[in-house]
Symmetry: C2
Subunit: 482 residues, 2 copies
Amino acid sequence: MIKREKIKSLLNTTDFNREVSVMGWVKTFRNNQFIALNDGSCMGNLQIVVDFNNTAEELLKRITTGAAIAIKGQLVESLGKGQRVEVKATSVEILGDSDPEKFPLQPKKHSLEFLREIAHLRFRTNTFNAVFKIRHALAFAVHQFYNERGFVYMHTPVITASDAEGAGEMFRVTTLDFDQTPRTEDGKVDFSEDFFGRATNLTVSGQLEGELAAMAFGEIYTFGPTFRAENSNTTRHLAEFWMIEPEVAFADLEDNMQLAEDMMKYLISYAREHCREELEFLNNRLLEEEKNKPQQERSELSLLEKLDFCVNNDFQRLTYTEAIAILKSSKPNQKKQFKYIINEWGADLQSEHERYLVEKHFKKPVILTDYPADIKSFYMRQNEPDSEGRRTVAAMDVLFPGIGEMIGGSQREERMDRLTQRMDELNIPQEELWWYLDTRRFGTAPHSGFGLGFERLILFVTGMTNIRDVIAFPRFPKNAEF
Amino acid sequence: MIKREKIKSLLNTTDFNREVSVMGWVKTFRNNQFIALNDGSCMGNLQIVVDFNNTAEELLKRITTGAAIAIKGQLVESLGKGQRVEVKATSVEILGDSDPEKFPLQPKKHSLEFLREIAHLRFRTNTFNAVFKIRHALAFAVHQFYNERGFVYMHTPVITASDAEGAGEMFRVTTLDFDQTPRTEDGKVDFSEDFFGRATNLTVSGQLEGELAAMAFGEIYTFGPTFRAENSNTTRHLAEFWMIEPEVAFADLEDNMQLAEDMMKYLISYAREHCREELEFLNNRLLEEEKNKPQQERSELSLLEKLDFCVNNDFQRLTYTEAIAILKSSKPNQKKQFKYIINEWGADLQSEHERYLVEKHFKKPVILTDYPADIKSFYMRQNEPDSEGRRTVAAMDVLFPGIGEMIGGSQREERMDRLTQRMDELNIPQEELWWYLDTRRFGTAPHSGFGLGFERLILFVTGMTNIRDVIAFPRFPKNAEF
């Protein structure tokens, strides 16, 4: 028995004129003779040449798009156009048929909307092969980046009893019955009867637990699923998504910005180096799409140019206060083209403002820092009031072209008195976060961290525009299919 | 300003007699002179020598166990016993105090039970530093192993509407209100009003979705959290744990066993190579513990010997039927020392039987295959009935000393008629798994996979005995603290 070889390695070999065994799915079958075979190892197909004179009619009929087949044959240099190698089949075996009347993936262009309906099959298209290979590569690159730097990978809990972070609406996790709900004497739901003896939710962030670990290991990161129960039906939001959250002891906001920039450049460079074929394909896909757009809507940079641009340029760093000044005097603000007009300091920035700064004003990734305390979380480090007495925190948002906020982070408030005062202002009960406060009680130290939305990173690197197209089985309002 | 250096690198440097900056937490402070400083980068402490004659009394008092401090000073070769290098401090700064009356981690041996209560601080002990460094290393090794082999890392959904796998009790995920639960006309809970428009749960396995991806990419793996709402208060069960699930197209049970064995050897070897210091420490920790046990209860092999043994020996492969024969005629079965006596073919194996096979009979890891169909899942490939007409499936369990089942897997039933017949027998509705069945409809092919419980792997490699000690913040009945 000959061992099966992967098409990826056969397409790159020069070891011709030998017997090989390949298996995969039929992409196309032309002239009863040429099979384009794909096994998922790469986007490229291997050409199989069938000796149709000596192959049963019945068998030939079953070589249809989507069928799984096993081929044995001679690997030879190809004389035809479009491929370097091909296999002259000596044996064709049907592993699994695919009824051409019913198989939804015909060899033609399908809309992304249609493919979303058949997310279990869309992996077999070139576009999604490329997207998920890049997703894989970026996930690996994340681990490699942090491993090389001595960070400890932490699995922070998915089920959490803490709802103090206030990052968004949460999903309840329960084993209680809606029909026979245990009640306390005063008629409230008795969560002491629930599985964990208290009300629990799906986490919105591993940060608070990550801080605990950073205050022991020095440098940690998380990479896990996080959840938002927000009724957002947009191309940018998911109910379930993956987040990367590094946390570093003895690091201030400067260190934090540097880590974020280093990481982004590392990840994008890694994809450029390890996913050439996939990025080339997606680059061309976007160029084709652009052709259908009016001139002024076309991107100035191609996908590959955009990636290189981010790697080769320093990210622009400025404060929120500086950004507000730029935005206030900007053309779209003066001409009231923004949906939300920037009138005064303290306004929360919308995606349109972030994108103006990144895409029009600076034309590169931007790191905004030192936001008003009132629009940021309780755990962010409080700056001294500025010359006009305004309160800001040592927060940072990293903004990317086409995406807006890619990363949000901050230096954390390590001073117990400042932290508890802020919690009191926001009515966050100290008892619930006793363990968080303990890190300030016992050997507190400056520390910083941030969160990177993994799917937003993939959107940026692949040039895809809907976040539902960069995660295998997206979860969003009214959809938990597959 | 001098850049902070990590203690791990200072302990290994020979570049002496230079100014350095270090930060960390005080482990001990002896004779008002010698600080043992740890920054989490390694288990080892750096000795700081304080010039107590020229340091304020007030400051010296604040150098307490657990305090965070910043040191500047001269790195020199140490003349003292027990360390190669030390830092002669020129400046000591207290970053965060630690009240010695209140700090729970005193420089003495604490019980694991006590440390579980303060899981947010236990990372600062040597034992948990070692355990979580090894956990990190093993997680990275998993990714590296599969990345090197061309597997695609898939993030399968955590929230799922499918409860067909039957792997165990599930947690409900919901945004419905217990007090104002929407009801259908016939009084049932109206899950169409729930966030996802249907009832949803936390996943028990990513396998079914993993199969979808394997049938496109050829080789994939998952590495994510999975959940069981079982009321198991044991040292082996968690409500939330991490699982690694590879799935390979065109692979049979033989290939599956080989992959599992290769992976386990790779992971253990990786830890042996990259976590020498940590494993050495845990090895000695266990040897110390063993000293308190009576001779006959002591392990034959030390932790390190056990790890090497698994790397250097082939796993024993045998069928369930062969195992039953061995167990039936075994001493503990004949002498009725097993809690569950093995009387006949068809019995489900308990941990005591698995451990007998591994620890007493074969004395090495064992792969059991071809279990009775009735005690295994619907998706496992049906073998032809044996000579006595008994129905088995191409399942495999990998059993490890001290752990029992480390891995469970199977070749999958790729034949549509066999699969749907089995689903009917078990009353699993086909409509719910239309997407799963589609892979059998369109280009089905033999494929196989397995699941490795990540925490069980860490138990084995670290020699820890309670699974709550190898995950940062364990989730189990009545506990979701931190």
